[in-house]
């Protein structure tokens, strides 16, 4: 059981801020700021051959991440374990934990069996090759 250590002598506004902060850290967004942002945040790039997805997921091993590809749909799933399991006194708890899932639909199909994922210093990079049909559409015209 995690308990936040709240000073019983702090005046109410400070305690309220502390509570807001707790809720922010649990739900990933401030109260009244609309839905919590999706986790993890994604950056996506494209070149002629492939799409590249990048996400910062520190503390998670590549083996704990699942990438599913179905046609042009890509889903990234995983679990971020709380580091503080079994601890009694958490003074701050901002790092998100729990299961996460993001889904993206690309404009063209992905070659599912050629998808490559790497994890380095907490940064996940997934390269998703476009299907040959999609890349073949771009015809180069040479002038003589």
């Amino acid at each position: 059981m995690l308990t936040h250590r709240l000073n019983p002598f702090v005046p109410f506004p400070a305690m309220r801020r502390e509570l807001d902060r707790v809720f922010e850290s649990v739900f990933g967004g401030g109260a009244g700021n609309g839905p919590a942002p999706a986790y993890p945040a994604l950056n996506v790039w494209e070149d002629g051959q492939a799409f590249t997805i990048e996400a910062e997921i520190p503390g998670v091993e590549l083996s704990d991440i699942e990438v599913q590809v179905a046609g042009a749909d890509v889903t990234i799933k995983g679990t971020r374990r709380p580091t503080a399991e079994g601890e009694t006194t958490m003074l701050r708890e901002e790092r998100p934990a729990g299961t996460f899932s993001r889904a993206l639909t690309f404009p063209v199909e992905i070659v599912g069996d050629r998808v490559e994922a790497t994890m380095k210093h907490g940064v996940l990079t997934i390269r998703l090759p476009k299907s040959p049909e999609a890349t073949a559409r771009k015809i180069q015209i040479k002038s003589n």
Partner: protein, 132 residues
């Protein structure tokens, strides 16, 4: 009092290493755990390397900074940009008595873990009551 309160003026704090490039500086997300004999600061600093991280503890102020170089995507077109990449920096004021010489830091999978052992004088101790 929270023994590891955030510095109010963290925005104005400058790392001891002079910045020679411009760019965004982000506040790393942290978990702070207090144990009987130590404080544990766990910070998310993805994209850093062990030698790009600087940890300082001076006069009760703990500062952690990490330089994160932009990840170049040459010849690629951005389709979605939900987060920015840049350095991390954050300062805490630690009121607990810390044995500064015994602070250790490790960096695994983008997570920086700092162990701040309490000084013996700050550790809780049991006083045995002897019968008269």
């Amino acid at each position: 009092m929270n023994p590891c309160a955030e510095m109010q003026k963290s925005e104005t704090h400058q790392p001891t290493v002079e910045r020679v490039r411009s760019g965004q500086v982000y506040r790393p997300l942290v978990d702070i755990i207090e144990r009987k004999d130590e404080l544990l600061v766990i910070a998310d600093v993805p994209g850093a390397t062990p030698d790009s991280i600087e940890v300082n503890f001076e006069r009760g102020e703990l500062t952690l900074c990490a330089v994160v170089l932009p990840r170049e995507r040459e010849g690629q077109r951005a389709l979605l940009a939900e987060y920015g990449v840049g350095d991390f920096c954050r300062t805490f004021s630690v009121s607990e008595e810390i044995d500064a010489a015994k602070i250790t830091a490790s960096y695994v999978n983008g997570v920086l873990t700092l162990r701040l052992p309490k000084k013996d004088s700050a550790k809780p101790r049991k006083i045995a009551v002897k019968p008269a």
